[in-house]
């Protein structure tokens, strides 16, 4: 099914920045110092990057970051054993073969997660879905939150729902005393969330579920101007609220996978 795109294209390459920096530094060291040092620097960088990915995994519980961390670690170690100058001297050939096998296996695992969209931050999909069948109407933006309605769920269901959305990179939960606030994170925006979640939340849209069933939506200016055209603001808030209420209903009925299916069905690119 074809879905018209309402959001502007995002040409940022934030996700590739660490790889570009690593490759550039490695290339400079290779040229100005030596080949061995260049390869080793890239190797060390990948091992450090593995630790960073592991940290993201603990924050999101999304298995693609665990896969990325494992792959980066094995790739870093594999590089360190190349070029006839092994960083770890005296390493046995059986161990090298095992390392090679693990690298191939983790590469397959990582590719599987990327191509099945399990590694994708799905904020863009959320905003595309919320904007479907909305009329164009200008000058409607206001910074006020919108009461999107009431629905039923228990406290433990809400916490479980939050965990599900986090694991699937749909929206990041912020736990408060009387409610849980969900902030959808778009691809290329993930580092903003990772490094300063509080600041990130202040400038982004959110959907809040309190513990007595009230749902409130707030669409930020930054996200609103991310649409190609000026959409009816109240309808957009209403739809975003309804979308998350629908997600909650799926979750309560034990059909949480339908949420992911619905988002993936839009067929947005893997990197934006």
């Amino acid at each position: 099914m074809y879905y018209p795109r309402k959001l502007k294209r995002d040409f940022r390459i934030t996700g590739f920045i660490p790889a570009i920096i690593c490759t550039s530094i490695g290339a400079f060291i290779w040229i100005f110092i030596g080949q061995k040092e260049g390869v080793y620097s890239v190797s060390v960088f990948f091992i450090l990057y593995a630790a960073f990915s592991l940290w993201i995994f603990f924050r999101t519980r999304n298995q693609s970051y665990l896969a990325a961390s494992v792959w980066q670690l094995f790739f870093g170690l594999w590089l360190a054993t190349r070029l006839g100058y092994p960083l770890i001297p005296g390493i046995k050939s059986e161990l090298l073969a095992l390392l090679y096998f693990l690298l191939i296996a983790s590469t397959i695992w990582l590719f599987y997660l990327v191509f099945t969209r399990k590694a994708k931050w799905k904020g863009r999909e959320v905003f595309e879905l919320a904007s479907m069948s909305i009329e164009l109407q200008s000058d409607g933006f206001t910074e006020r939150p919108h009461p999107a309605g009431k629905t039923e769920y228990s406290g433990s269901e809400l916490k479980g729902f939050a965990e599900f959305l986090r694991k699937n990179l749909i929206a990041m939960p912020y736990f408060e005393v009387n409610r849980i606030v969900f902030v959808p994170v778009k691809m290329e925006d993930e580092f903003g969330y990772m490094f300063n979640p509080e600041k990130f939340r202040q400038t982004r849209s959110w959907i809040a579920f309190d513990f007595i069933g009230n749902v409130t939506v707030n669409i930020s200016k930054k996200d609103y101007i991310g649409y190609k055209e000026e959409l009816s603001f109240d309808q957009l808030c209403e739809n975003l609220g309804k979308l998350f209420i629908e997600f909650m209903n799926y979750y309560r009925k034990g059909e949480a996978e339908r949420i992911v299916f619905k988002l993936n069905e839009l067929g947005l690119g893997l990197t934006y």
């Binding site: 409607g140 206001t142 006020r144 939150p145 808030c237």
Partner: protein, 199 residues
């Protein structure tokens, strides 16, 4: 006594020299502004204004006299007591709060330029900040809201949403009918500042 008169009387009574001037008025059969000013050692214009205000309030009486020079007024007390009574019920909107008032359909005005700040619990608006004027003359006006007002504004329709009557918004906000006067008050204020528009 209406509020304006009471405010005027209050202002007269609060003057540093009021007691001295009342003492003179109580002592003299009648007194002119220049005589009173010279006795209390204040400017004649100040004394004149004070006496004229009291005359306007009906506390003093006056007579125009001629003594070979230009005419002037002599003042004397018309009453031995001053009683101030203000009916505070007249400030309530109860009279205005009728069906037609609650049926008024409203929504937030487009590009109103107002900032709505939500409470810590995020389920009501705690204040509205409005900017007025341009450039160097731009001023900020912040209105802190009561909780019923904040809950009401939380449910105010967005700029391009359908208008809703005050009654419907109150129903959504689960406002009590005892809160009607303060809600009507904030609606009036925000309409005045161009933050809320009506059909």
């Amino acid at each position: 006594m209406n509020f304006k008169e009471a405010a005027k009387l209050g202002s007269c009574l609060s003057k540093d020299y009021a007691e001295d001037l009342f003492r003179l008025l109580a002592t003299y059969e009648s007194i002119s502004a220049s005589e009173a000013a010279s006795r209390v050692n204040i400017h004649i214009k100040t004394t004149q204004d004070f006496l004229e205000d009291l005359y306007g309030l009906g506390i003093l009486d006056r007579e125009e006299v001629y003594e070979g020079k230009r005419p002037y007024f002599r003042y004397w007390l018309k009453t031995d007591h001053i009683a101030m009574s203000i009916d505070l019920n007249s400030f309530s909107h109860d009279e205005e709060v009728n069906d037609s008032r609650l049926k008024l359909k409203i929504r937030e005005k487009r590009n109103a330029g107002a900032k709505f700040t939500t409470s810590r619990s995020n389920d009501f608006i705690s204040s509205v900040t409005i900017w007025m004027g341009k450039g160097r003359n731009r001023t900020e006006r912040k209105i802190n809201l009561s909780i019923p007002q904040g809950r009401f504004l939380f449910h105010l329709p967005f700029p391009n949403a359908d208008y809703l009557s005050i009654k419907e918004i109150m129903k959504k906000a689960q406002s009590d009918s005892t809160n009607i006067p303060e809600i009507i008050d904030i609606v009036n204020v925000l309409m005045e500042f161009g933050v809320i528009e009506t059909t």
